[in-house]
């Protein structure tokens, strides 16, 4: 019992990381209907960007986040037209083609990363990475790692910012219109191409920033991508694909499942549990926990 507060806290902090992995991913699915298999690779590139920028400039990775966002946002905007072309093809199954396309992209990215960055694992130092807060009361003790807390705060900030962007700005209105109906959004004067490119840029930028964060909290390596793709899928499916508001809850749930399993059950069964839960939820409610997926 005395572990419970810590278990919950660890779950929440882990969930924070998953929020940022999945939230922009979910947005792109909602708008562009693309399942990006390369999501983990964007995280990997982001992590390396953070690692090297930190090495060269000596600035704290948290301060470098905007730089990474801008660089990767631009890359995303530039790639999107190709994806758009794949997805709007009249032949074949566009959804499937998008999936295969990003799968190929992911392989290419992995190969590139191994060529350029080599095989070794790294870690990005940050001013937050050393500290932790410690509480003790009523026989319960709780340790909160500063860098993970910073990650959670970042996750919440991103969530709020996306929420604001979507609900309160004209751009957001356009995005939502596009998500609901491609054709009529075009009639209403939404520039589908430009909005699509911006959304994808936003997604790549946010995901790369998450990579920086993961480099600080966990590690950086050329082969790190696929495991985060797994978690992104999990969270997005659980939340209901394309349903943004569900993402934080689903991410926290995943964090909790892992945390509780690692602490209270056989830790060896954790991933089995994760996949079994994912599968079961898909069967019971394909549209996610809230039944609101697209």
């Amino acid at each position: 019992m005395e572990l419970l507060p810590q278990a919950l806290m660890d779950g929440i902090l882990l969930g924070g990381i998953y929020i940022t992995i999945a939230i922009a991913f979910s947005l792109t699915y909602g708008v562009m209907h693309i399942i990006d298999f390369a999501v983990g690779e964007w995280i990997m590139f982001g992590a390396f960007a953070g690692f090297y920028l930190n090495k060269w400039t000596g600035l704290d990775p948290f301060l470098l986040l905007p730089v990474v966002f801008v660089i990767f946002g631009l890359i995303g905007c530039l790639i999107q037209p190709v994806i758009h072309r794949v997805l709007s093809g009249s032949k074949g199954n566009p959804l499937l083609m998008g999936l295969v396309f990003t799968f190929g992209l992911g392989l290419m990215f992995q190969g590139l990363a191994m060529t350029v960055f080599g095989f070794y694992s790294n870690s990005t130092p940050s001013m937050f990475s050393e500290g932790s807060f410690f509480f003790e009361k009523f026989g319960f003790s709780l340790t909160i790692s500063t860098v993970r807390l910073a990650g959670l705060i970042y996750a919440l900030a991103i969530t709020m910012a996306l929420h604001y962007l979507l609900k309160k700005t004209n751009f957001g209105l356009g995005v939502r219109a596009l998500a609901l109906n491609k054709d009529s959004a075009g009639l209403m004067g939404v520039n589908g191409k430009r909005t699509g490119a911006l959304v994808y840029g936003l997604y790549v930028g946010v995901t790369a920033m998450t990579g920086v964060l993961i480099g600080c909290i966990l590690s950086v390596s050329a082969g790190m991508g696929p495991q985060y793709t797994i978690f992104a899928f999990f969270v997005v499916v659980l939340a209901g694909m394309g349903y943004l508001a569900g993402v934080p809850w689903a991410a926290l749930l995943l964090g909790m499942v892992q945390s509780i399993f690692l602490i209270y059950f056989d830790p060896g069964h954790t991933l089995l549990a994760v996949f079994a839960i994912l599968y079961t939820i898909l069967l019971i409610s394909p549209k996610g926990l809230f039944g609101r997926g697209v």
Partner: protein, 328 residues
């Protein structure tokens, strides 16, 4: 159509059967054996992906299931290979039956992710169970007769191809599956039972895959969760099918041969540039999706078809009358 496949297929089969008599290079034989295996995996994958429109990212689980079933029966129960192998197919069918009912209700991306999650769960299970040897895998007694495995693989894949050709291109079954792929709701009004058809396709896709897994286990003599239950099988089958052309049988065969040849040449003769392999493979996949969404065969066929359509337009009614007269 039927004619054509015999005209082209028989010579190929003849050459393949005669090959070991002419060629004694065991490495070459091994590579061709594996290529044949991949052809089998790709066409089996395409039954569901190309013909029925369901992307099964858990295809590899059937392969692993077949491999482990065969290995376990041989090693733990002392069965001979000849009996253990078919059981690999039976287990795959049983698994398809059990997993199919709930999973095939899902559509599109949901089905893809569900099958993927299920296959990951199966892999995790193999990793933590004692009987499977966990991460250490299982070793089978070596029976290193390259000709035996070549002919076995060839026989299974040729039989699979012939069966699939008959069912998918010749009998009504293939067209019915395509109807499901195009519009499940609409197909119901035409008397098609999607649940039944999808399940049949799922099993049809699973059984050869499971049997090939069994052959693989005995051939390589070592299996572990990473190599037989990992993403590799599904991913590579997907790549081959998409590159070659989904929804056809020739497309995946061409895709399997080209991708596997590329891969083999690369590692065998260009090991120093190994990392380029991933980059090139990734680029080939991405570019082929952009520029040939119908795959190599589909695109080639598309050109031919366009020409034919054009001719059709010119003399359609004539042709129709002729055809009809023939019919009566």
């Amino acid at each position: 159509m039927k004619d054509k496949i015999i005209r082209w297929g028989l010579p190929v089969l003849f050459v393949l059967i005669a090959m070991p008599a002419v060629i004694h290079d065991t490495f070459f034989l091994r590579v061709v054996t594996e290529a044949v295996m991949w052809i089998g995996l790709a066409i089996a994958f395409d039954v569901l992906a190309g013909y029925t429109g369901y992307l099964n990212f858990g295809h590899g689980a059937f392969f692993g299931l077949g491999a482990y079933t065969t290995a376990l029966l041989m090693m733990k129960a002392g069965w001979p290979f000849a009996l253990a192998l078919p059981m690999g197919g039976v287990m795959a069918a049983v698994a398809a039956l059990i997993a199919g009912f709930p999973t095939l209700r899902l559509k599109g991306a949901y089905f893809a992710i569900a099958t993927w999650a299920l296959s990951r769960a199966v892999q995790q299970l193999a990793l933590i169970m004692d009987i499977t040897g966990g991460p250490d895998g299982m070793r089978l007694p070596p029976f290193l007769n390259p000709q035996f495995f070549y002919y076995l693989m060839l026989a299974i894949v040729a039989a699979t191809f012939a069966l699939l050709w008959y069912l998918l291109e010749h009998s009504p079954f293939g067209l019915k599956l395509k109807a499901i792929r195009e519009d499940e709701q609409g197909a119901m009004a035409l008397g098609l039972n999607p649940t039944k058809l999808k399940m049949q396709a799922f099993i049809l896709s699973a059984v050869p895959t499971g049997i090939l897994g069994g052959v693989y286990a005995y051939w390589i003599t070592f299996i572990d969760p990473a190599s037989t239950l990992g993403d590799l099988i599904s991913d590579q089958a997907l790549v081959m099918v998409v590159f070659g052309g989904m929804g056809t049988l020739i497309g995946p065969v061409i895709g399997a041969i080209l991708i596997f040849a590329f891969k083999t040449l690369f590692w065998a003769y260009l090991s120093d540039f190994q990392l380029l392999y991933l980059i090139i493979l990734g680029a080939v996949i991405a570019l082929s999706v952009v520029f040939m969404p119908n795959g190599l065969w589909g695109t080639l066929g598309g050109f031919k078809k366009k020409k034919r359509d054009h001719e059709n337009k010119l003399e359609t009614s004539l042709e129709a009358r002729l055809q009809k007269n023939e019919g009566e």
